[in-house]
Assembly symmetry: C2
Homo-oligomer: 215 residues x 2
């Protein structure tokens, strides 16, 4: 990253810098450290079919990329506000010694969460994307939670909350989709595509929680 870009980045903290920005700690999408997913691109295609996820949804998600690019910080304020006000959720960011939410852990996750918004909007479903979904699942489960950020927190995010978060994430996203002139019909279409995509991802993230042979 150039010196100029790094200055600009520091001056505009609300704008997530994509590929050209400073590396996001722990964001290992596409890196050799990421294990091969236990599900294939064919499995993904079958799941997309069951979810009625089609090319129109891909286009709608990509349309949202430009709409959301300068809003990720505001969106995360809303999402983090929801988590903070929901004891059942904030506990997963709690420090197990103090019992209080861990601000360092919250902030580390937040940077990757912002990038996740853009990755979801980009909708590039290749092997690297699939493998990283598996990695995200592991990081919610007892297999890898806390490891990325060296956090001292709960051993896992309980399974039940992973698909459930599809709703608050996509419901609170909707007003942001309307902020750059998209018509009401376009907003509905993009919102529906987001619901499908987040649910799809939450299913892939759930794999580490499922008994052998039952996924």
């Amino acid at each position: 990253m150039s010196f100029l870009k790094s200055i600009l980045s520091a001056l505009k903290p609300g704008i997530v810098q994509a590929d050209t920005a400073a590396p996001i700690p722990g964001y290992t999408h596409g890196q050799a450290s990421v294990a091969r997913a236990p599900y294939s691109l064919d499995d993904l295609a079958s799941l997309q079919k069951a979810l009625l996820f089609n090319d129109e949804d891909v286009q709608a998600l990509r349309q949202s990329a430009a709409i959301l690019a300068d809003q990720t910080d505001a969106i995360l304020d809303v999402w983090y506000g929801f988590v903070a006000s929901t004891p059942e959720l904030v506990v997963f960011f709690g420090n197990t010694r103090t019992g209080e939410p861990d601000p360092v852990y919250l902030e580390a996750v937040r940077k990757r969460f912002a990038r996740w918004i853009l990755d979801t909007a980009e909708a590039n479903y290749d092997q690297a994307w699939l493998d990283y979904q598996y990695e995200i699942g592991l990081r919610h489960s007892k297999f890898k939670k806390n490891k990325t950020d060296g956090a001292q927190s709960t051993a896992q995010v309980n399974f039940r909350y992973i698909p459930a978060l599809t709703i608050p994430i996509t419901t609170t996203l909707k007003p942001f989709l309307a902020k750059h002139g998209a018509s009401a019909a376009e907003v509905e279409k993009i919102h529906a595509a987001w619901v499908k995509s987040v649910l799809l991802q939450s299913i892939l993230w759930s794999q580490p929680y499922i008994r052998d042979g039952e996924f």
Copy 2:
């Protein structure tokens, strides 16, 4: 059931008879044979909170009861059409000897599926309802699949398709919600409540698939 009611029921096959109708084979909601759910009503309340599921959603679901009561057969035609045209799904109704979908099994499930539409719309979240969600989950998993109907079919519905079906079920339901004069805004509200409710149920149904202590 009176003789008159049984005649009326036979004459109107498209109308699901609720409590007063002939018993639905295998529909054991509220019966002593149903095991206690491994999650509590408090767990349910927490999950509803995470899903932004509130009293307005309950009211919207109940509003849908009257709208859907005489449409369950038409809705099931659409749902079964989707399953039949999706090899990844119809396999779960396949006879393991012939490799063909089992019409007796399909029909037995369909009667309970019609009743499930009405139960979802009634939105009565008591212990009997919770226990029956667990029972439904078991019947999708290797623990109890095929047992209720004596079917010779696949050992399980794979986990991944259970939350996924939230989308086709609620997407194809939407036009039916608009058929009895509800406004576009009311239809949106009812549809959103249905998405939350079906996702919530699919999470409860997933419990038998989850590793011990991770649900």
